[in-house]
């Protein structure tokens, strides 16, 4: 009878095959898997970075345009919302040449008022040039505010500054509508409708522009109508 129990003999008889070659091969596979994982992680980080970069650049380029279209300025001035929001939060302007406490203060605060105005004027001048969307927004705001005459300038500005834009025909058509319906200037409206048709002869406004142009011409020259 063996001095060792049967389970002890089995435990001693078990041998796991783990040769140096097998260990080296497994280590190589581990290294490959780690490298694969690193490559995947780098690709993921690069993708996320590109995505965030694209999002940020999109927000910078198109954000004000989209935001301006959603909430147009009522006064018609093409200003960005961030600027409009930031304006009330501005700290009260400190006079640049404020005298110390020992020096007697000026009798009135009147001299500070021109300084405030002169402080804001360069900020307004530093605004970016208006885009097509902001001009459209200004025109819409003026019309909604019941001042269609103020809508003429932004729409004309679109036609003058961005004649190649795909929305120029819409601007001309809109200008014609304002002139014909609100301002009752049939001759100018006929010119605006003709311009709309001329800019985009095959566009969605071409037919309506032609009809409105002939109607405006008829109104402008009622004696020439048949």
């Amino acid at each position: 009878m063996s001095p060792l129990s049967r389970r002890r003999r089995i435990a001693d008889a078990l041998e796991v095959r783990w040769t140096p070659a097998l260990a080296a091969r497994t280590q190589r596979r581990i290294g490959e898997a780690v490298a694969r994982r690193r490559r995947r992680r780098r690709a993921l980080v690069a993708g996320l970075a590109l995505l965030s970069l694209g999002g940020v650049s999109f927000a910078f380029v198109r954000g004000p345009e989209l935001f301006g279209r959603r909430s147009p300025n009522v006064t018609g001035a093409p200003s960005t919302p961030s600027r409009a929001l930031a304006a009330p939060a501005e700290p009260p302007p400190i006079p640049e040449e404020a005298p110390p406490a020992t020096v007697p203060a000026p009798p009135t605060t009147a001299p500070t008022l021109p300084k405030r105005a002169s402080h804001r004027r360069p900020a307004a001048a530093a605004q970016p040039p208006p885009s097509v969307a902001s001009l459209f927004a200004a025109a819409d705001a003026a019309r909604l505010a019941g001042q269609p005459a103020d809508a003429v300038a932004p729409l004309t500005a679109i036609l003058d500054r961005f004649p190649g834009d795909r929305r120029a025909a819409l601007a001309a058509f809109q200008l014609g509508r304002v002139l014909a319906d609100d301002l009752h200037d049939a001759a100018a409206a006929a010119r605006a409708f003709a311009r709309a048709r001329e800019i985009d002869p095959t566009g969605p406004f071409a037919g309506a522009a032609a009809a409105r142009a002939s109607e405006a011409q008829r109104n402008a020259h009622p004696q020439s109508a048949p």
């Binding site: 129990s5 049967r6 008889a13 078990l14 041998e15 796991v16 095959r17 097998l22």
Partner: protein, 195 residues
């Protein structure tokens, strides 16, 4: 009559208990991943092989264990605990394999799973049939009972070490070992050492 030449003996690993001054290193930083692999890959392979009972799955599980270790090695501060930490990962991964094996066994009962038994071919080759029978019976046990039994009986781990490796209390480990023992006693006989 021609003498039957015994097959060449494989280069194999034998387990070194944690307290025997094995290559576990002292306290301090665990070192680079290559050092950890060089020191402990044999231990992990031996543990995994004995738990699974087959040689052909060992490299895959060792790879999984060391991939996990590579990811989490930065969180280990004491090099003395690396061996136990790797043992816990190895037991968990081996248990996962065993659960999948039982699922496959359930779906295909006639399938022969064991292909490359960890039993020795040379000195104790008369024990190979018994080892095959033992692992076939172990395959019928759930992993949560099989692993503590293997750790206790085939690796000689003390109960507290078994409990630590399995992530359970000593009482739970004892209970699971006892359940497995009831199934395996007809094959192995009574445990004279523990009784």
């Amino acid at each position: 009559m021609a003498a039957v030449s015994s097959p060449p003996r494989l280069e194999t690993v034998r387990l070194v208990p944690a307290g025997d001054g094995g290559p576990s290193g002292g306290a301090g930083a665990p070192g680079s991943f290559e050092e950890v692999y060089a020191r402990h890959a044999g231990y992990v392979a031996g543990l995994v092989g004995r738990v699974l009972g087959s040689n052909h799955e060992v490299p895959d599980v060792v790879q999984e264990v060391f991939l996990i270790a590579h990811r989490r090695l930065g969180g280990v501060r004491d090099s003395g605990s690396i061996r136990a930490w790797l043992g816990r990962i190895a037991v968990r991964e081996a248990g996962r394999r065993l659960r999948w094996r039982r699922v496959r066994l359930f779906l295909q009962p006639a399938r022969t799973i064991e292909a490359d038994l960890v039993a020795a071919d040379g000195r104790d080759r008369e024990l190979r049939p018994l080892c095959a029978l033992l692992y076939a019976s172990l395959d019928r046990l759930p992993a949560r009972e099989r692993v503590p039994w293997v750790l206790r009986n085939l690796m000689g781990e003390p109960l507290d070490s078994v409990a630590e490796l399995c992530g359970c209390s000593i009482a739970t480990a004892k209970r699971r070992i006892a359940v497995a023992e009831q199934v395996l006693r007809p094959i192995l006989g009574a445990d004279e050492e523990n009784e």
